[in-house]
């Protein structure tokens, strides 16, 4: 079982393979980019880098009350993106294997300590972002 970063988006729980996660930071000041797709919050200055920031709730189509507070910086195939999330809850191995689900962005779902956790397929998330699908 590989190590995952567990996080909360709205009322839901997700897990990201740890090798895709570069860091977790304050959401910080985000500059909106008018004319961009729905899930794009804008760009953020991350130590001199212009980082595109996406609302993970909008990517997954989750209703959420209030604004996200944290920024999770992820990387896939040399591309970096920031995701606005509510909080990181845990880092560790999932206690149960993920079972396949019908979902655009999930590799599967795992029942972990009585909670349903979506295991995110970063490749599909990045592909959708790049196509401007979300």
């Amino acid at each position: 079982m590989s190590v995952h970063v567990r996080l909360r988006v709205g009322a839901e729980s997700y897990a990201l393979p740890v090798e895709h996660v570069l860091e977790v930071a304050e959401l910080g000041e985000i500059t909106p980019v008018p004319g961009s797709p729905r899930a794009v919050l804008g760009v953020r200055n991350l130590r001199g880098e212009v980082l595109p920031v996406f609302d993970l709730a909008a990517v997954f189509g989750i209703e959420r009350d209030g604004a996200a507070g944290r920024l999770l910086v992820a990387e896939h195939a040399g591309r970096r993106a920031g995701f606005a999330i509510d909080e990181v809850t845990d880092v560790g191995e999932l206690s149960a294997p993920a079972e396949e689900t019908e979902s655009q962005f999930l590799r599967g779902a795992a029942l972990d300590e009585g909670e349903l956790v979506g295991v995110v397929d970063m490749q599909r998330v990045f592909a959708a972002l790049q196509e401007g699908q979300v």
Binding site: V33, P34, S36, N45, E49, V50, P52, R79, Q130, E131
Partner: protein, 656 residues
């Protein structure tokens, strides 16, 4: 010989002759001791290529001779030095090759023997005496003095430039933190030293990312020759400043726009040999492409010595303030005949937009009868850009300084049909809130807010913002591969205070207000020249080229012109605008054709008597009858279309 083979032979001859020119240059340089260290390599490459091509085409004489030269060069290379006397037999061998290539050569047994003998005489000198192999040539002779190079992957250079960019930011932050006056001389001195070092580092890094213009100009003389041949003209292309360096990303995309401008020059700018003779010019026209670096920019000028643009066009350009805008918008060319619509300056607007997408500009100058020139001004390096920073809704935005004509204070805006415009030196200019142009949320603007006049894509707009922050050289960061569908930005820049400024694409800014420009043009008819009372003609045409051509003809004759792309759009305009005094319409159009439009106008209560002129490519009597039956007042056929007939018809119908 098949056509294909003949073509191949011609290609081979052209290339071989080009390479023989190079060979002769290098040999002469070697003989005079001013060749670069890679002279032998250059010779080898040229001779080897000729040998290869000759082998494929079965030109045995050429191949044998080239092979002998290669052998001799091999020995010279092994010996480590080129004895100057060797240049003579090699030059004669090159001449013989040229004759063979032209198909005029005879057997050259003597020369082959001589080359073999020379080869035997080449002996390895002890450690190469000085003077025989100069380290580097300084005069612009043959060979190159680039010295020994190493190959570096492009990504590494980009990484270096990125780091230089980071250093720029670091410096900005430092200046921001320290403020203008550090109060400490030692610190100020060190900052100065750092500044100088940084500038040098920046220049060095930029140089690594740039390539000489020669990288893309090699194919141009041939392309121009072919274009001239197609049009029965004689044109020589002269290229100057090929060594001028440009950012390779810009360079790689510049080929097509340059060919476009050259095609316009050959096709429309340059006259036929006959016309030139009558005008007292040499039959062979000269088109020149020259490049020169000015500060952080490179200027590329394409000039022809052709007929220039017509006086009316120059007059219009003077009124509008920019010839290239007039040419780009109207799809004008410099050709005299208005009947020939093919290939007019159409696409110049695309060239302009392309140049502007790099933060550059395109300008045109012309003198009737003397020639036309286009000047492309491009940033030397993409990574750095001079921008004007402005603020709107608490966010900073950057616009390339090259596209900012001026900054003004908006005191009294005019409003026309709900659209805002502003009068600037007797001409009206569309006016819009920057936030609206960009699509950003922002609170209401304060009265007397500043505006910047931005030009892009052949159009201008005054964009109102909250305040101007000033000019700055910024490091352009791409928005990145994850925001590919977002349009309208050149990238983003991080400012000294850490904020991100979106860099706005000028063409997108002005393009978003295209309709406003039209409205502005109406309002612009200032009372003093009486154009406000000039009759307004509605041009209905789905072809952009024809539409703009008709517009330009009518405007040059003093009419006000509105346009519509099809009947339905036209009908709405006719019913809404009582000023429209005549409709000039095409027949075949999407949505609603010209005959339906004519009938709809005749059936309308308010505008039933509005004059309608039908212009179409259909010339049969049946069509003409259909036009008349639909209620058209006049019918003109496009292939007989001429400016004078159009103007006379319009004049007759509007009773001027």
């Amino acid at each position: 010989m098949s056509e294909y083979e003949a073509e191949f032979f011609q290609l081979f001859r052209d290339e071989a002759n080009q390479r023989l020119d190079n060979i002769v240059d290098v040999l002469l340089a070697l003989e005079s001791g001013r060749a670069g260290g890679d002279a032998l390599d250059l010779l080898f490459r040229d001779v080897h290529t000729i040998k290869g091509g000759a082998g494929m085409l079965g030109l045995d004489d050429v191949r044998t001779l080239a092979h002998a030269i290669e052998d001799l060069l091999e020995s010279v290379r092994a010996a480590g030095a080129f004895p100057p006397p060797l240049a003579d037999p090699l030059l004669r061998a090159a001449d013989a090759l040229r004759r063979h290539v032209a198909g005029e050569g005879e057997g050259t047994p003597d020369l082959l023997e001589e080359l073999a003998a020379s080869r035997a005489s080449v002996v390895a000198p002890a450690n190469g005496s000085p003077g025989e192999r100069p380290a580097a040539a300084t005069s612009g002779g043959a060979g190159s003095d680039r010295g020994r190079g190493i190959r570096v992957p492009a990504e590494k250079i980009d990484r270096l430039l990125d780091l230089v960019g980071e250093t720029v930011l670091h410096r900005r932050r430092l200046e921001h933190v320290l403020g203008d006056d550090t109060g400490d001389e030692t610190i100020a001195d060190e900052l100065d030293v750092g500044g100088r070092l940084f500038d040098e580092l920046k220049d060095a890094a930029i140089q690594m990312r740039t390539l000489p213009l020669a990288t893309i100009t090699g194919a141009l003389p041939r392309a121009v020759r072919d274009m001239a041949a197609e049009t029965g003209k004689e044109v020589e292309l002269v290229v100057r400043g090929e060594e001028t360096e440009l950012d390779r990303v810009i360079l790689e995309s510049l080929s097509e726009p340059l060919i476009h401008i050259l095609r316009n020059a050959v096709g429309h700018g340059v006259e036929t040999p006959e016309e030139r003779r009558r005008a007292g010019k040499p039959e062979r026209a000269v088109v020149s492409l020259s490049a020169v670096q000015r500060g952080g920019n490179v200027e590329i000028t394409v000039a022809d010595d052709g007929r220039g643009v017509r006086r009316e066009v120059l007059a219009e350009a003077q009124r509008e303030g920019s010839l290239v805008d007039v040419l780009a918008r109207a799809g004008f060319s410099t050709a005299e005949q208005v009947t020939d619509l093919s290939g007019r300056g159409v696409g110049l607007d695309a060239v302009k937009a392309h140049v502007e997408s790099f933060g550059g500009t395109l300008e045109a100058r012309s003198e009737t009868g003397k020639g036309t020139e286009f000047v492309l001004t491009l940033p030397l390096a993409l990574a750095l850009m001079e921008v004007l920073l402005v603020e709107r809704g608490g966010r900073p935005f950057g616009v390339p300084l090259a596209n900012v004509d001026e900054a003004i204070s908006v005191s009294d805006a005019l409003s026309l049909e709900g659209r805002q415009a502003l009068e600037l030196r007797g001409r009206s200019l569309p006016l819009a809130d920057l936030a609206e142009l960009v699509g950003a949320d922002a609170p209401q603007l304060a009265p007397h807010a500043p505006a910047i006049v931005v030009s892009g894509g052949g159009r201008r707009v005054a964009a109102v913002c909250d305040r101007l922050l000033g000019e700055e050289e910024v490091v352009v960061k791409p928005l990145g591969p994850l925001l590919p569908t977002v349009r309208g930005y050149l990238g983003a820049a991080i400012l000294g205070d850490g904020r991100i400024a979106l860099l706005l694409d000028p063409s997108a800014l002005t393009g978003g207000s295209r309709r406003r420009v039209r409205a502005g043009a109406d309002a612009s008819a200032p009372a003093e020249n009486g154009r406000r009372t000039a009759p307004k003609v509605l041009v209905v045409e789905d072809s952009y080229t024809v539409r703009e051509l008709q517009r330009s003809i009518l405007e040059a004759a003093g009419y006000r012109v509105d346009t519509a792309r099809h009947g339905r759009e036209a009908l709405a305009q006719v019913l809404a605008d009582d000023d429209i005094a005549l409709v000039l319409t095409d027949i075949e159009m999407p949505e609603m054709d010209g005959l339906e439009l004519t009938r709809a106008i005749r059936d309308s209560a308010a505008r039933a008597s509005l004059p309608v002129v039908v212009v179409t490519s259909q010339g049969s009597e049946d069509d003409q009858r259909a036009g008349v039956e639909a209620g058209a007042d006049a019918y003109m056929v496009k292939r007989a279309f001429d400016q004078q007939a159009l103007l006379e018809t319009v004049e007759r119908l509007v009773g001027r």
